[in-house]
C-alpha cells in the first residue's frame, strides 16, 4: 500500500472543497484522478504534497503521515505540477543539479540517467539554456525530466498531457510504465480520458469534492451498464447525473 487517503476534508480557506475523500494507490499501480474543472483534483494533489493541511482525515505514504516524519514523507514523492514552474535565474543544467541535490542522488548515475532522459525529450542540446524562456511544452518536459531523475516511490502528476507533443506524450507514458514495473505508484490527474483509459489501472472519479466512484474500467462498466463502453461515455453520464441530482 503506497498512498492512502482516508476521510480527507480540506481546501484553501475555511470552506472545505474536499468533503470526505477516500482512495488509495497501491505499489506498481497507475491511478487516474478524473473530474471536471473545480471537482477538487488539484486540491487533492496539493494536500498530498503537503501544500495544504487537511481539516480532517489523513494522508499516508507507506504508512507515514506528513506530521509523523516530514523528511521521510516528502523524500518519497516526486511531483510534476500542472503549470511548469522553473527558476528564472537557473539554466536547465542547474535545474537538474538542483534536483540531484534535493533528492541526494548519486551524481554520476543521475547524470547518466539525465542524459538519457534529455535525449528522449530532445533537450540534450539545451543544457545551458534558461528554461524560463522555453515554451510551455518544453518547460513541462523539464519538469518531467527532473521528476523521473529521482527514485521516488510515489509520482504525483497533475495533467501532464496538455502542451506536450504526441511523441513526448508517448515517451512519458513509457516512462510511467517503466517506473510502474519497478514498483513505484503513480497518481495522475487528467482530462484526456481515452489515454487514461488505455494506461491507467484504476480510476478515481471526483465530483464536487467527493469520490463519486472508483475502480477498474471493467468495474465501472459493470456499475454503469447503460452508459457505454469507453471511460469517456461513462464519465459523461456520471457528470451529467451528478449535475442533475
Amino acid at each position: 500500500m503506497t498512498l492512502q487517503v482516508s476521510n480527507l476534508v480540506g481546501g484553501y480557506s475555511q470552506v472545505p472543497v474536499l468533503k470526505d475523500v477516500n482512495f488509495d494507490v497501491k505499489d506498481g499501480e497507475l491511478v487516474g484522478l478524473i473530474g471536471l474543472n473545480g471537482a477538487g483534483k488539484s486540491t487533492t494533489i496539493n494536500h498530498i504534497i503537503g501544500l495544504l493541511t487537511p481539516f480532517r482525515g489523513s494522508i499516508k505514504i507507506n504508512g507515514i503521515g506528513l506530521n509523523d516524519d516530514v523528511k521521510q514523507y516528502k523524500a518519497q514523492i516526486a511531483y510534476i505540477p500542472e503549470q511548469p514552474i522553473v527558476y528564472k535565474e537557473l539554466t536547465l543544467k542547474e535545474h537538474l543539479e538542483m534536483t540531484m541535490l534535493a533528492y541526494g542522488l548519486d551524481q554520476d548515475a543521475a547524470w547518466k540517467r539525465a542524459h538519457d532522459l534529455l535525449k528522449l525529450f530532445r533537450l540534450d542540446n539545451k543544457l545551458d539554456w534558461f528554461p524560463d524562456n522555453f515554451s510551455k511544452g518544453m518547460r513541462q518536459k523539464v519538469m518531467i525530466v527532473c521528476a523521473f531523475l529521482t527514485n521516488a516511490k510515489l509520482f504525483i502528476i497533475d495533467e501532464p498531457f496538455l502542451g506536450l507533443d504526441p511523441l513526448a506524450v508517448n515517451d512519458l507514458l513509457n516512462l510511467i510504465s517503466e517506473r510502474k514495473r519497478q514498483g513505484a505508484s503513480i497518481l495522475m490527474s487528467t482530462h484526456v480520458l481515452d489515454t487514461a483509459q488505455r494506461y491507467c489501472d484504476r480510476f478515481v472519479l471526483l465530483h464536487d469534492g467527493q469520490v463519486r466512484t472508483e475502480g477498474t474500467i471493467e468495474e465501472l462498466r459493470k456499475l454503469f451498464p447503460d452508459a457505454g463502453d469507453s471511460l469517456n461515455d461513462i464519465y459523461l453520464t456520471l457528470a451529467r447525473e451528478g449535475d442533475a441530482s
Partner: protein, 407 residues
Amino acid sequence: MKQLFRQRLSTHLKEMMRYLRLVFNDYFVLALLFVIGGLGYYYSNALKQLHTGLWWAPLVIVGILLVSVQLGRFATLIEGPDYVFLLPKEAELYHYLRSGFRYSVSIAIAIQVLFWILLMPFVQVTMHATTTELYLLLASILILKLTWLNTDFARKYHLRQSWLASRFIFRLLVPVIALGLSVYINYWIGLIISLAALLASYFTRQNWANRSLDWTTMIDDENSRMHTVYQFFNLFTDVPTLQGSVKRRRYVDGILNRIKLIPRNTYLYLYAHGIVRDNEMSGLYVRLLVIGTLFLVFVKGALLPIFLSLLFVYLIGFQMIPFYFHFSDNAFVHVYPITNRYQLKSFQRVLLYLLNTVGVVFAVAVLAVNLATPVTFIGVIVGEVLEIWLFVYLYLPKRLARSERTR
C-alpha cells in the same frame, strides 16, 4: 542547505548592490547630504525648545519605536519553484531558514540601533532618562524585534497553535504594552514584558520546527517582501523584475463604466482599466498626488506653490508615459480589428482626466491656504491649465513618437 542559502544570499546581495549603486548616484548623495544636514539642524534647534513634562513626548517615542520595530522582515530568499524542487529536502529546510533568520536579525538590529540613536537625544530631553534607562530601552526594542522575527519564522510552518504566528499579538499588542510601560512607568517592566514574549515565542520552536512547512505562505511572504524592496528601487530606476500586481478597485467602477463600448474606445477601455488597476501606476499617481498636496498645504511663499504644483503635475504626467506601451506585448491588441489611430487619442484622454484631477486637487489646496494672496492661486490655476494642455497635446505625441522609434 546552508550552502544553498549562502549562495542565494550572495546573489541577492549582488543584486541589491547593483540597485543601490543606481540609487546612490553622485547627485542623489549630494542632495541627501543637504537634506540630512538640514534635518539635523532642524532637529537640534527643535530639541532646544523642548523640556520635560510634555504630554505628547511619550506618545511620539512609543509611536516611532513601534514603527522601527516593524522594519526589517524575515528574508527567506525562497523562490516559487522551491516547493517542487526542494520538496524532498523539506526537513532540512529548517537549517536553511535559520541561516535566513540570522541574516534578517543582523539587519533588523542595525535598523533598531539607528532609530535608537536618532531618538536618544529626544528621550533624554523630554523624559530625563538616565544612561541605564536608555540602554534598557534599546534592549527592549531589540528583544521585541527578535520576537517579531521569530513569529514570522513560525508563520512559515503549519502550526498547531495559530496564536504563535499572530501578527496582531507580536507585532502590535506586545510592543505597544512593553514600550508604553517602559516610557510611562518603568523601563525594567518593559524589558521584562519583552523578554517574556521572546521566551514564549522561542520555547515553542521545537514544537513547530519539525512540522510541515506552509510553502504557500512562505513563498507569498517572500514575494511580497521582495516586491516592497523592488518598489523602493523603482522610485529611482527601472526594475525589470517588478511584475505589476493588480487590484480590483471596485469603487472606481462608476467612472470606468462611463466609457461607451464602441470599437473606437477599445484603447480607452484598456488604458483606463489598466491604469486604475495596475498597482504600480495607480500607486505612483496617488503617492505623488498626496505628497504634492501635502507640500502645497505646508509650503509658504508667493511663487513657490506655483513652481511646486507645476513640478508635480509634470512629474505625474511624465511617470504615466510608459504605460502607453503597456499593452504592446499583448497579442490581442494586434489581433483586434481596430486601427491604432485612436490609441494616442485614447491615451491623451486618460492622461487629461488624470492630470485635470491633479490640477483641481492642487488648486483647491493652494486656494485654501493662500486665500490672501491672489497672485499665487491665480498663478497656480493658469499655470496648470497651460501646462496640462502643452503636456498632453504637444509634448506627449512628440515624446511617444520618439520612444516608438527607439523601441
